[in-house]
């Protein structure tokens, strides 16, 4: 009966999937954040604001944490018996692991890996093992060699013990097949103890049977409900101003330092782009047309000066050139229209 129930559930799930993906047309309203009369928050103000907002249910969360903390001694026992521990559940497990580190691992060699850190690599993990734990100075040709070296060292010296705490084992940088393979092999060494946390719902997909057996996980549910502060600080959300794209402030900053003519040139291009913003096939302004317009406005006097000016813009990533199908160079400003409008408005005010 249970099996049949499960089957029913399965078919339901399958149907739900196809239901969700059946129509290619998705009905949502066309409203965008731009139209919302509100400034976008940047990382700093967001942080400040969140600090002001009180954390709900602090007492209950604290109680939950106490429950998890009581498991620490058990974890130690199990780690020593050759298991590795993986924590899952809603909420950041950073503080919990940190507490584990400070309370239990105080005087043993341990390594903390911040998986959510966007530039972490397996190599850096291995390097910190070889350089700081094993005191070995030297480079390795490949991570595999390094791993071999590490395992040899650890097998030779059984008194060598290392606790590795990994926050977010399933982060972007570590979820790759090769890095997981290496980490798994590292974790299978008997005197290296792993404690990791995972958050992504599909995190277990990255392990096949061979890796699972190397990891030898013991699963612990540690739902903490605490917010992912550090973890999401690197997650570029749509709602936060992205540092990667050009922001209004940086745009004005760069243009402030330019000559009046140069500013005029950019303005001209911006205006032209805004006029054509509803035309989806707008390829940008061709160089010849642009030259013509600039001449008419007495902004440049020769082909060469305009080109020099454009090169400067390009160096500051203010414009992008694209070659059209006919071989003509088209100029585009790679900034979204709203920022551009804001910019022009501001310029008008200043002028």
């Amino acid at each position: 009966l249970a099996k049949k129930n499960k089957e029913d559930k399965m078919t339901n799930l399958v149907e739900e999937y196809f239901e969700a993906h059946s129509s290619s047309k998705v009905l949502t309203s066309d409203r965008t954040l731009q139209k919302l009369q509100k400034r976008r928050l940047n990382q700093q103000t967001l942080h400040d604001l969140l600090k002001k907002a009180p954390l709900a249910y602090a007492a209950e969360i604290e109680e939950l944490n106490q429950q998890h903390v009581s498991l620490f001694s058990k974890w130690m026992l199990q780690l020593h018996l050759g298991f590795n521990i993986v924590l899952y559940g809603l909420g950041s497990k950073r503080d919990l692991l940190e507490k584990f580190r400070t309370s239990v691992l105080q005087d043993s060699v341990h390594l903390v890996v911040n998986g959510y850190f966007p530039s972490i690599t397996v190599r850096s993990i291995l390097n910190s093992v070889t350089e700081e734990v094993l005191d070995h100075i030297g480079t390795f040709r490949s991570p595999l060699d390094q791993l071999e070296f590490i395992s040899k060292k650890f097998k030779e010296d059984s008194s060598l013990e290392l606790y590795v705490l990994i926050h977010n084992l399933d982060s972007q940088m570590l979820r790759g097949e090769r890095s997981q393979q290496i980490l798994a092999q590292l974790s299978s060494l008997p005197t290296i103890y792993f404690i990791a946390s995972i958050d992504h719902i599909n995190a277990p997909l990255m392990w096949d049977q061979a890796k699972l057996s190397l990891y030898n996980w013991l699963w612990y549910e540690t739902t903490t409900f605490s917010p992912y502060v550090e973890e999401t600080s690197y997650e570029n959300s749509l709602l936060v101003q992205q540092s990667g794209s050009l922001a209004l402030s940086s745009l004005t900053h760069v243009l402030r330092s330019l000559t009046l003519n140069a500013r005029g040139i950019f303005r001209l291009l911006a205006q032209y782009q805004l006029e054509n913003k509803d035309n989806p096939s707008y390829p940008g302004l061709s160089f010849q047309d642009f030259y013509q317009q600039c001449r008419e406005a007495f902004l440049v006097n020769s082909d060469l000066t305009l080109r020099a000016q454009l090169t400067e813009f390009r160096d500051h990533k203010l414009i992008r050139t694209k070659r059209g199908a006919d071989g003509v160079e088209y100029l585009l400003i790679p900034i979204d229209d709203s920022t551009l409008t804001d910019f022009l408005e501001k310029e008008d005010e200043d002028a």
Binding site: N12, E19, S29, L36, K38, K74, Y88, D199, I201, E235
Partner: protein, 657 residues
């Protein structure tokens, strides 16, 4: 802890040795075959190992040990993960072969230096002329090997290369390696062994005809993992040797993980290990879980707290309640009485185990021969059924008894004989005769046999009679008589005995196969918290997230969070509200609408306390909270930013979760 580690090692030694043994047959064959093979093509052995990849390590390692012991070859074990390209493969191969050299010949530094040189040189050689370098290396390798080893072994020993997981090798590397080595087969006698997880078809799909024609493949089959499981259960769980036992539910969980998930014996062992750890960690009385003599000693030196613990056990309480009142008082107050009784009870438990195993085996012999296997084919199923509750109350047991009553033909006698033999051997070997009744049982069977002989005699004599009298009338008469006698005399005798036997077995079952839960002090020896095991071995992170998001009350015990029938509780943590709102959407979600909905829900809470004046700031805070919740959902993998439409996110899950 000490005991526990002892137990651990004891158990795992047993398991490993057992695994070894089960493979040895296959290994013997392979070894023999490698010795024999010396042909023009590259001889290759394909070992079909089954899908439980993790267990192969042990198999192949012991195989290489066996091969090494018979000093036939030098062995290199290649794993797919070490060999992304042919260069790495050759490097690894050389390294391992050289090391083998050193191991076997116990030569010192000279060779080792050569190894490291070799490796460095290999790293220097550019990708363009890897082929040249590889051939050079092999060439230089070959004569040295011959020189080094030939005089000792008389004939040049083959070099065995084991490919651990054939399926995960890249085809090109494998093909290149085979082609290259086939060119050097005259100087370097190579033998390849492929470990195959799926079926031999994979060789043909991986290797084109031109390559596979260079190989001379012979197939070897290893034991299926199910057989491993049943033997492990047989050897480890169904012996009186180990005091630690698994409860029914735990065993079920372990077997289910094995049969429905991974077929991995190693995982089974891991689960078993976890059970032991958990038992000795959580149960304060597990100190008594050891061999009987030791346990008695320990029971004698129990502290007061431990005695209290014993008194607190539910099974002990039941025991106390069944006693007379004076004794009850004594049990509840005096520690010395408790100690005494505990020793007595522990001994009972041990005796019970010994009887249990033999009777279980006996019953298994009976039931496993029945058609349709009402109680299961394997002994583990029977074991589970016996542990679960009183087996004689189940329908399956009834039907099997009925079947046994009907099935008893004379050829079944021989079957019974067989199982008696098994019992004799087991009773002689495994325990000193605690079960006196077994003997009785035996004699009954013998009688039965004698009976059968008699009957045979009778029928033979009657047939002789039949032959003498050729008269038609007489013939008819004797035939009738014969029939009559058969019906009346023989059948009753036979049937009576049959019933007797079945009833006896029934009574045996009733007396000895009492589930362990009904025994006093079973908590000491049995580990029965399956939920712990399931949570740690077979976790469902997705479900945990789902319940936490859907129903935070499960974790945060606040009255305000009590679920009220599916609607969004506006007092839930932010992320739960955002999650619930996102569940209502289709494939794409508009961020603005989402934000608006969120702020409506949250404002409903804030509304009473928030002043209108500071609404702008409140708004900002709500906005910030929304951003945080959305980025948390993104981190958890429920949504991802979508480029299809501005300011939309795509949902990655569907339906309710």
């Amino acid at each position: 802890q000490h005991i526990q580690e002892d137990l651990n090692t004891q158990l795992f030694d047993n398991l490993v040795s057992f695994l070894r043994r089960s493979h040895s047959e296959c290994q013997e064959k392979t070894t023999e075959w490698t010795c024999r093979m010396k042909s023009r093509e590259i001889p290759a052995a394909a070992l079909i190992l089954g899908v439980n990849v993790m267990d192969h390590d042990l198999t192949l390692k012991s195989l290489s040990e066996v091969l090494q012991d018979n000093i036939t070859p030098y062995i290199a074990l290649l794993e797919a993960k070490d060999c992304p390209g042919i260069k790495n493969l050759m490097q690894k191969l050389m390294g391992q072969l050289m090391n083998c050299h050193i191991d076997v010949d116990s030569l010192e530094d000279e060779d080792y230096v050569q190894v490291s040189q070799n490796r460095i040189r290999c790293s220097m050689t550019s990708l363009v002329n890897w082929y040249k370098s590889v051939t050079k290396k092999t060439d230089s390798e070959t004569p040295s090997k011959k020189r080094a080893s030939s005089p000792r072994h008389g004939q040049s020993p083959p070099v065995v290369v084991i490919f651990k997981d054939m399926e995960s090798f890249t085809t090109k590397v494998l093909q290149d390696f085979i082609v290259i080595s086939s060119q050097h087969i005259h100087e370097l006698p190579l033998v390849l062994i492929f470990g195959i997880a799926t079926s031999p078809m994979v060789i043909h799909s991986l290797l084109p005809h031109s390559v596979s024609s260079l190989l001379c493949i012979e197939l070897f089959q290893s034991l299926s993992c199910k057989e491993h499981l049943s033997t492990i259960i047989d050897k480890v769980l169904l012996t009186a040797q180990f005091p630690f036992k698994l409860g029914e539910k735990v065993l079920q969980v372990l077997i289910n993980i094995f049969l429905y998930h991974d077929f991995s014996v190693q995982n089974f062992i891991k689960g078993f290990q976890l059970c032991i750890v958990e038992h000795f960690y959580s149960q304060p009385l597990s100190v008594l879980c050891c061999q009987l003599v030791e346990a008695k000693k320990r029971a004698n030196s129990l502290s007061h707290d431990q005695c209290e613990n014993i008194r607190r056990l539910p099974s002990f309480r039941r025991y106390v309640e069944s006693q007379v009142s004076e004794k009850q008082v004594a049990l509840l107050t005096a520690d010395s009485v408790v100690k005494e009784v505990t020793q007595q009870l522990l001994e009972d438990l041990h005796v019970y185990h010994e009887n249990y195993v033999s009777v279980l085996r006996c019953l298994h012999v009976f039931t496993s021969s029945l058609p349709k296997y009402p109680l299961g084919k394997q002994i583990r199923e029977l074991h589970c059924a016996c542990l679960e509750n009183q087996v004689w109350e189940t329908e399956e047991y009834d039907s099997s008894l009925q079947l046994a009553r009907m099935l008893n033909k004379s050829d079944l006698v021989t079957m019974l004989q067989q199982c008696v033999e098994i019992l004799v051997s087991s009773s002689g070997k495994e325990f000193d005769k605690t079960v006196e009744k077994l003997k009785e049982f035996l004699t009954q069977f013998q009688k039965l046999e004698a009976e059968a002989f008699q009957e045979q005699d009778v029928s033979i004599s009657s047939q002789k009679e039949l032959r003498k009298k050729t008269d038609l009338y007489h013939l008819q008469k004797t035939l009738l008589e014969l029939k009559e006698s058969r019906r009346s005399k023989k059948l009753t005798k036979f049937e009576m005995l049959r019933f007797e036997v079945v009833d006896y077995i029934d009574s045996l079952v009733r007396s000895y196969l009492v589930p362990a839960d009904h025994k006093t002090l079973h908590e000491i020896l049995y580990f029965n918290t399956a939920s712990v095991l399931r949570a740690h071995l077979n976790a469902a992170p997705r479900t945990a997230l789902h319940t936490a998001l859907n129903n935070p009350y499960c974790y945060l015990k606040n009255q305000a969070l009590k679920p009220d029938g599916g609607s969004i509780s506006n007092k839930a943590p932010d992320i739960c509200i955002v999650y619930k709102l996102h569940l209502e959407c289709g494939r794409l979600i508009n961020l603005v609408d989402w934000l608006e909905a969120f702020s409506t829900v949250v404002m409903a809470v804030e509304g009473p306390h928030a002043d209108a004046a500071s609404s702008d700031q409140v708004d900002d805070i709500i906005h910030a909270r929304f951003i945080r919740a959305v980025s948390e959902l993104e981190l958890l993998g429920f949504i991802k930013p979508s480029k299809q439409k501005t300011d939309h996110v795509a949902r990655l899950t569907w339906g309710g979760c």
